[in-house]
């Protein structure tokens, strides 16, 4: 059927109008949307009263029923609903905002009924976003790629925070599908790269705000006038309230996990982060904040020891994620081009060595980085790809690594190989 091979955005349909008389209209038209009234998602209540549990279950059942209905719609009707039904967009957005992350303090719903329906919604939401990220569903059902790009961008079907939420909620087990989705979104709508570029400074501000909360970034330090001696003293990680410390560690844990999940799933974003000097900001943040927060978690008096243990795990997990993020950035922006033998290999090698050199002053970061990703491995790869690398410089770097381990009072385990 030749006419069926027309993209949805160019198709016309003839169907009964509100008064029963047939009329022709674009296949993608607000009049073709069903008045379904999706309800927003509410997270499972923590130790909720029976009434709160009931309220959650009521919302969840409606969402489940509506998303099942939505996914069963034919291609044209699905897109009419997605584009023109604001209640659906709010429902999906509310899920991304409020769905419990696996790393939240209380991620698991307290009853099996809540857990079961939460699991079902989780899958349906993912499938809905997957369908929304697919411009070609079959030979006959597709959108013009450029129009698809406009639709998803202009209607905020996807935006950078939503993409990050998708990564942290679904990325662990569905990374390949998510990679395809995000790659498709960025390819068909390059404006997302501009949005990402606009978002990275806000991500950096999040780190700054953690520093500030921990009293590690003195407001007066950058001001024109010297600070008065009796100026207001900012609380530190040791002196702030326990709840504030918990919030900071949770915030850090969420932020580092989210950034890492996104860059791991969509490495093409590494260059945008890199262009904002993200790596050096991350390493200096690590160097300044981690020892302070670790000390606070270790030495403050916690009535609840399990909370202390939990905070430590989250902080240490955040450290791993920051180290892994640094490695992803170095790998995708410097090392990978060298290993692929791209042009300007020498420039990439120089940049990589400069980064390693800058790590030498961040001793705590360097020793942790080296523990997970031995610098000697990367230097060895570099030497194999570019035998002209100055050996004095690489030896200096490796000595710097040894000295970093010593200065943080740790001993490097011998390489198992």
């Amino acid at each position: 059927m030749a006419s069926a091979r027309v993209p949805l955005d160019e198709r016309q349909v003839t169907e009964p109008g509100p008064l029963g008389k047939e009329h022709t209209l674009p296949a993608l038209h607000p009049d073709r949307k069903e008045d379904r009234c999706f309800v927003p998602y509410k997270p499972p209540p923590e130790n909720g009263s029976p009434a709160e549990v009931e309220e959650f279950l009521d919302h969840a059942r409606f969402i489940m029923e509506d998303l099942e209905w939505l996914l069963a719609l034919p291609h044209d009707k699905f897109w009419c609903q997605v584009v023109f039904d604001e209640s659906l967009q709010r429902c999906l957005d509310s899920y991304l905002r409020y769905a419990p992350r696996s790393l939240d303090l209380t991620a698991l719903p307290s009853s099996s009924a809540m857990a079961e329906i939460q699991r079902s919604i989780h899958k349906e939401v993912f499938l809905t976003f997957l369908r929304m990220a697919t411009y070609k569903e079959s030979k006959d059902n597709f959108l013009t790629p450029a129009v698809f790009g406009e639709i998803i961008y202009d209607n905020f079907l996807f935006d950078i925070p939503k993409i990050l939420d998708l990564c942290v909620l679904f990325g662990k087990g569905n990374s390949q599908l998510l990679h395809k989705m995000i790659d498709n979104i960025f390819t068909q709508q390059p404006s997302y790269y501009s949005d990402l570029n606009e978002t990275v400074p806000t991500v950096l501000q999040v780190f700054d705000s953690v520093l500030e909360k921990c009293g590690l970034r003195c407001e007066g330090a950058t001001a024109m006038e010297p600070m008065k001696l009796n100026a207001y003293k900012q609380p530190t990680a040791m002196t702030m309230s326990q709840q504030e410390l918990v919030d900071i560690v949770l915030y850090l844990c969420d932020s580092t996990t989210t950034i890492h999940a996104f860059l791991d799933i969509f490495p093409a974003a590494c260059s945008t982060f890199h262009s904002h000097g993200f790596l050096s900001r991350l390493t200096s943040f690590y160097e300044t904040t981690v020892p302070d927060l670790e000390k606070a978690v270790r030495k403050r008096n916690f009535d609840d020891k399990s909370l202390q243990e939990d905070l430590w795990k989250r902080l240490s997990h955040s450290c791993r994620k920051m180290v892994e993020t640094a490695h992803l950035l170095l790998h995708h922006t410097c090392l990978q081009p060298i290993l692929e033998g791209r042009e300007n290999m020498q420039t990439f090698a120089e940049e990589l060595l400069q980064h390693f050199t800058s790590f030498l002053t961040e001793k705590r970061f360097l020793s942790d980085y080296d523990e997970v990703f031995p610098l000697s491995d990367d230097i060895s790869l570099l030497q194999q790809a570019l035998p002209v690398i100055d050996e004095t410089r690489t030896s200096y770097l490796l000595q710097g690594v040894e000295s970093a381990w010593e200065s943080v009072g740790r001993r490097k385990l011998p390489n198992p190989s």
Binding site: D58, H59, K123, G173, T258, R298
Partner: protein, 198 residues
């Protein structure tokens, strides 16, 4: 309250997403139920058709009994939907109850949830009463006859047979877990590292 999140900060402080107000709307569920009732009322099966089906081709005595059960069903529907609603809403609720209970002999969990999703909290006695009424109403007929009547009248029972998007996709429920770099050093808890070297 949801814990602090990176994406929450990005939504608040960057200009790349739509600003949405997610303040709690207590009428969400009420509005949804009203919408659902409206959609159900347009699905094809009407109270008049049920009355016709239950009273046609029956002798006088059975007819009178059926009429009484239909009245009782309306009464139970009124209790479930709320007495402030008009006749149309009550009849539509009775249709829903007839559809729900036509092949059931008791009010099970599934039926309870179905009624609650449609009308909100309801008196259990009204559900029991409507279940009994429907059982009495369909008793003179073969099951297949009742089933056939509902199938032909109600559009929701004749959905286009199409597979749902994603039914072949292998979805993983795996989620990120804490992966600490190192354990909490117990020896250092609550005390300063005191050097013993003098």
């Amino acid at each position: 309250m949801s814990p602090p999140r990176l994406t929450g900060a990005l939504r608040s402080f960057s200009h790349v997403s739509k600003k949405e107000d997610f303040s709690n709307n207590p009428n969400d569920l009420k509005t949804k139920r009203q919408k659902r009732q409206e959609l159900f009322a347009n699905e094809g099966l009407t109270w008049q058709k049920i009355v016709c089906f239950c009273t046609e081709h029956q002798d006088k005595a059975k007819n009178r009994a059926a009429s009484q059960e239909l009245k009782n069903l309306l009464l139970a529907a009124k209790q479930i939907v709320g007495s402030e609603h008009g006749q149309e809403a009550i009849q539509s609720a009775a249709v829903f109850l007839f559809e729900t209970f036509h092949n059931k002999d008791h009010v099970g969990t599934e039926e309870t949830w179905a009624i609650k999703q449609m009308f909100g909290p309801f008196p259990a006695t009204a559900a029991e009463a409507s279940c009994n009424c429907v059982a009495q109403l369909v008793a003179p007929f073969e099951n297949s006859h009742v089933e056939g009547f509902i199938q032909t009248q109600s559009s929701c029972h004749n959905p286009q047979q199409r597979s749902s998007f994603g039914c072949n996709i292998v979805f993983s429920y795996d989620c990120y877990a804490l992966d600490p770099l190192k354990d909490l050093p117990h020896s250092g808890m609550h005390m300063e590292n005191t050097s013993l070297e003098f």
